[in-house]
């Protein structure tokens, strides 16, 4: 994406991404998403359920829903040529299996990707281990996808 942009926007882009990231991280931290006890308490529907994280989704979705509605009235974004939205409507095996596996990992340790990155700020080795394993997991999936695709193209 940055290749398409004129060089003079790079500083602006970097700054805006940093700012949006900072908002995101502040929101995660403030909302309690980086507190694994809260997250696991939220998922513990049949135990001592802690409903507070419902409000994170409620706050996030309502602001995003209204914001997107207003933004999509424009024909294009401010600093890019076009809106880049996923177009697939397919409920396929990958989506289902991926979501289920992700949920297991989330329930095991209480981190999803955003809060895991945010929690790196607290400098605990466990978080670094988790993030490293998460990146390796992404790599494995990408390698496996490339292998499967290659095998489909060149069956022996």
């Amino acid at each position: 994406m940055s290749n398409k942009m004129p060089h003079n926007t790079n500083l602006k882009t970097g700054f805006l991404y940093l700012l949006c990231g900072a908002l995101f991280g502040a929101g995660l931290s403030l909302s309690g998403m980086t507190d694994q006890n809260k997250v696991l308490g939220f998922l513990d529907l049949f135990g001592s359920w802690n409903p507070s994280l419902i409000f994170v989704m409620a706050g996030g979705i309502s602001v995003t829903f209204i914001g997107y509605k207003i933004i999509f009235k424009r024909s294009s974004p401010l600093w890019a040529d076009a809106f880049m939205l996923p177009t697939s409507k397919l409920i396929d095996k990958n989506l289902v299996l991926g979501a289920l596996l992700f949920g297991i990992g989330w329930g095991l340790y209480g981190y999803c990707p955003g809060p895991a990155i945010a929690s790196l700020a607290y400098l605990h080795w466990e978080t670094f281990l988790f993030v490293a394993a998460m990146i390796i997991g992404m790599f494995l999936q990408s390698k496996q996808a490339a292998y499967t695709e290659n095998k489909a193209l060149n069956p022996l």
Binding site: F24, A26, N37, F65, M84, N94, I135
Partner: protein, 139 residues
């Protein structure tokens, strides 16, 4: 179990996350999905520092600021290295395979009524709830 302070800061925190997602859409026309942003950073050639890298640094910075102001130190839960690694692998593999996580599907996708995202969110919630049930009440 309702805790007014905790619920209000959860609502405010969620709204701030939504604001960040709106800015990303308004300026760049992009969905704010953290698993995708992480993958973007990994794929970026070495000598470049991608805009996604700025976003991840921002996340850490933002969390640091809130923790500094609130003074609330958060420690990770007690767990063994095996569980942490397994959980990390599953989160990484699953979000890559399912094209999104709590932010991309859960916040941005649901906000634009994407059927895929609604299905994914219901599924990872159900599987998370089931996992916690098994770990806390069966094992």
């Amino acid at each position: 179990m309702l805790d007014v302070f905790s619920d209000n800061s959860a609502l405010l925190g969620g709204a701030i996350i939504g604001l960040s997602a709106c800015f990303m859409m308004l300026f760049y026309g992009r969905i704010t999905g953290i698993s995708g942003i992480i993958w973007n950073v990994i794929q970026t050639p070495k000598k470049h520092f991608s805009s996604s890298g700025f976003f991840l640094c921002g996340i850490i910075l933002g969390a640091l600021c809130v923790t500094y102001i609130s003074g609330a130190e958060i420690s990770p839960i007690q767990s063994n290295a095996f569980t942490i690694i397994l959980a990390g692998l599953l989160v990484g593999y699953g979000t890559k395979l399912g094209s999104g996580c709590t932010s991309g599907h859960g916040i941005c996708g649901i906000s634009r009524f994407s059927t895929r995202s609604i299905v994914a969110t219901v599924l990872f919630m159900l599987s998370g709830i089931t996992t916690v049930y098994v770990m806390r009440h069966l094992v």
